[in-house]
Subunit: 424 residues, 2 copies
């Protein structure tokens, strides 16, 4: 709403064409985390490229005057967008995205840009911590049912970006090429009853194996786990792909189930655990014989931080730096670019931000520098060499290694890096 009322007022008073720069950044990391993960950049680029108003939409906005309506009918973003790569780390005040153009064309993008980056980055930031906690063990994203039906698709994409191996969300596979994986529900076991209406777990396992092959993962905790494991191996044989435990004390149960599987000769049968796992629960299972994690609710809701808290602020008007002075919400004016300075070992030391129009500052030559800000949209068109989802996933994995070691800890603390402003 206010994007359009501001647009209308700006078209009326002649300020609509002022050359502006808006910046996406955050003032702090949620829950005293040490880093955030930029996610959603590719979705933002698509959304900006396709940002249009239909006649039907405009008909539903009777408060628009004729001039504003005409402007929106012909709307097409023609400006420049620069920013951090998708999969890049960020910290408080990192200039994640800079949108430059007329006030009119930039102001109407606030909500769509922030919605995408705030949601996707919240999920990716939580997912990256889970991946770190899992220490190389695969995590499957299975949280679609715990978030909005469309957000679920984006969540699956963001979790994969952050290092999850697959998702149970088929739409994410169709739309973004995320690998899919899945097991079965308790309903599948409950569905199978014998002629007298009594539970028949073996019939459920048998049917699943016949349909999905012996490499499938059987859910063994619908009734009694010990009996469930016995039934699973009896039906599948020792070549069974995996068993899933979705309740109880997962550490204790994983050990018991591992012992039982080994005693039965099912040495290669994997153990998958799920049940409201977050990064802390995953970390607490490090020493247990768990092969695969299934994460749901926590990852799609950002594990306690369901929004990244990114804001979209006007930082420059006709070449003049601007910033508000609201208490607790002060910010740095000027359109910026950033680099990360690293030791020769590759360990990051700090981020440095400076004017987007100037050459990189001289940091004395002791440190290596990596340019963080790259062109994303030029004159309204996405640049040619945008990273693929898999490239962004690899980029993040490499960046996490560059953090000072304490930056990967799960506990609350200061951000791992700070941002220094030069000449702003």
């Amino acid at each position: 709403m206010y994007e359009l009322t501001m647009l209308q007022a700006a078209l009326a008073d002649g300020t609509a064409d002022r050359r502006c720069a808006f910046e996406v950044f955050t003032r702090r990391l949620p829950n005293e985390r040490r880093y955030g993960v930029v996610a959603g950049t590719a979705r933002v680029i698509d959304a900006v490229k396709n940002f249009r108003f239909t006649a039907e939409q405009l008909d539903g906005l009777p408060f628009l005057d004729g001039r504003t309506r005409t402007y929106l009918e012909n709307y097409r973003f023609s400006g420049q967008i620069d920013g951090y790569r998708e999969g890049e780390l960020y910290f408080p005040n990192s200039p994640i995205l800079t949108v430059r153009g007329t006030f009119a064309e930039c102001v109407v993008l606030e909500t769509v840009i922030l919605s995408i980056l705030n949601f996707d980055s919240a999920v990716a930031s939580a997912a990256a911590r889970m991946v770190t906690a899992a220490e190389g063990r695969p995590i499957i994203e299975m949280g679609s049912r715990r978030t909005h039906e469309d957000a679920a698709v984006s969540a699956a994409r963001a979790a994969y970006l952050a290092g999850f191996v697959s998702t149970s969300n088929l739409e994410a596979a169709a739309r973004y090429g995320v690998p899919v994986g899945g097991t079965s529900a308790h309903a599948w076991t409950l569905l199978h009853t014998d002629a007298d209406g009594r539970p028949d777990e073996k019939a459920a396992f048998k049917a699943q194996i016949e349909s999905q092959g012996v490499g499938t993962t059987l859910l063994v905790d619908t009734y009694d786990i010990r009996q469930g494991v016995a039934n699973a191996v009896e039906v599948a044989g020792t070549g069974l792909g995996g068993v899933r435990i979705d309740s109880g004390d997962l550490g204790v149960l994983a050990r018991q189930v591992r012992d039982q599987l080994d005693a039965l000769g099912a040495y290669d049968t994997k153990i998958c655990v799920s049940s409201d796992l977050d990064e802390f629960a995953i970390a607490s299972l490090r020493s247990e014989p768990v092969d695969t994690y299934g994460a749901g609710t926590s990852v799609v809701t950002g594990s306690g931080a369901p929004t990244a808290g990114l804001v979209y602020k006007l930082v420059e008007v006709d070449g003049t730096h601007v910033h508000k002075r609201s208490r607790g919400k002060a910010s740095h004016g000027g359109a910026k670019q950033a680099l990360r300075a690293c030791r020769s070992t590759g360990t990051a030391v700090e981020e440095v931000a400076w004017s987007i129009d100037e050459d990189a500052p001289d940091l004395g030559g002791v440190l290596n520098t990596v340019q963080l800000t790259v062109p994303l949209i030029r004159d309204g068109e996405p640049v040619d060499d945008l990273a693929s989802l898999d490239e962004s996933r690899d980029h993040l994995a490499a960046q996490l290694v560059s953090l000072p070691w304490e930056g990967l800890a799960l506990s609350r603390d200061e951000p791992a890096l700070s941002v220094r402003f030069i000449g702003l």
Copy 2:
């Protein structure tokens, strides 16, 4: 994924046509809240009615065998759905929604039903607490930018259902008829500079008033609030509609601004406050001269509970009650309906659940009973007299009044009502 692999296995082993009942309920309320609000029901009904698989979607699922593909090509839900009205209160184990049909037609609806109800109910449950905390003062929903771009539209709808007066999300207005409202951003003020590039707040206010009328709400905290209020009244006169404060200690500032407005003669100018308001912040401002609240992040993220934690469980197969015995996840078998028992004063005492196929149990006649479970879909078709969004909104407002008075408190405690099962 697992919905379709279970379907495929069920079509293969002959269990696909078993008559099943799945139930949506929650085992607990998040954050020890005292009630939840059912939201999203109308969206679920639409989603079920329109649930289809396109040829393109099926082409992307190479793991499907021919029989399963054919089944999905012709998919159309033909069963029964009963449940609580949208805007109804719920408690742990309330049978919010019951889906009956073949295993095949019910199992594939799990994710879409849960995604909608979990997200919408999370937002509505948080929003209802904010409305209670505001004690009749209007709250505007302005959180679109802090959640997924599609979820934002549903969040605006759910917040309105819960008693918010309007939203800044225009798509929610177009799609669901939610009233819209909006103010302006700090960018609007920052955009306005004089010929020397110096801040010119008065120019911003003047342009907004010329475009939007004197009834508009001016954002006064971009630079200095005291000067901002003075500028606002100087430009608009004492007929100014409102001022918004979006930073700082809102209680102290509201008092100072009220005094200043009154001293300037702007007695009727309203004060709107925003800035990460949740139900506790809203309650803490009860005694301050605040006229309107703007709530964003907290409402769209469920104020600490971004998902309602609802599950979709198989409870009946061919007339036999089923339930799993997983530790901590036990549930009650059988397709259910529910009523709420109330004293003659209207105060609710408990919920009672019994078989969906039987007459209401005799509770002794001392209490009045209200049927909670109503038909929503019959033979695949939505029933004729579904409630409108405004009717659901009114329904919720009436139900909140029926809670025992301690049930509306914001602090952590037991659920306000419990559910008693009879004959199950």
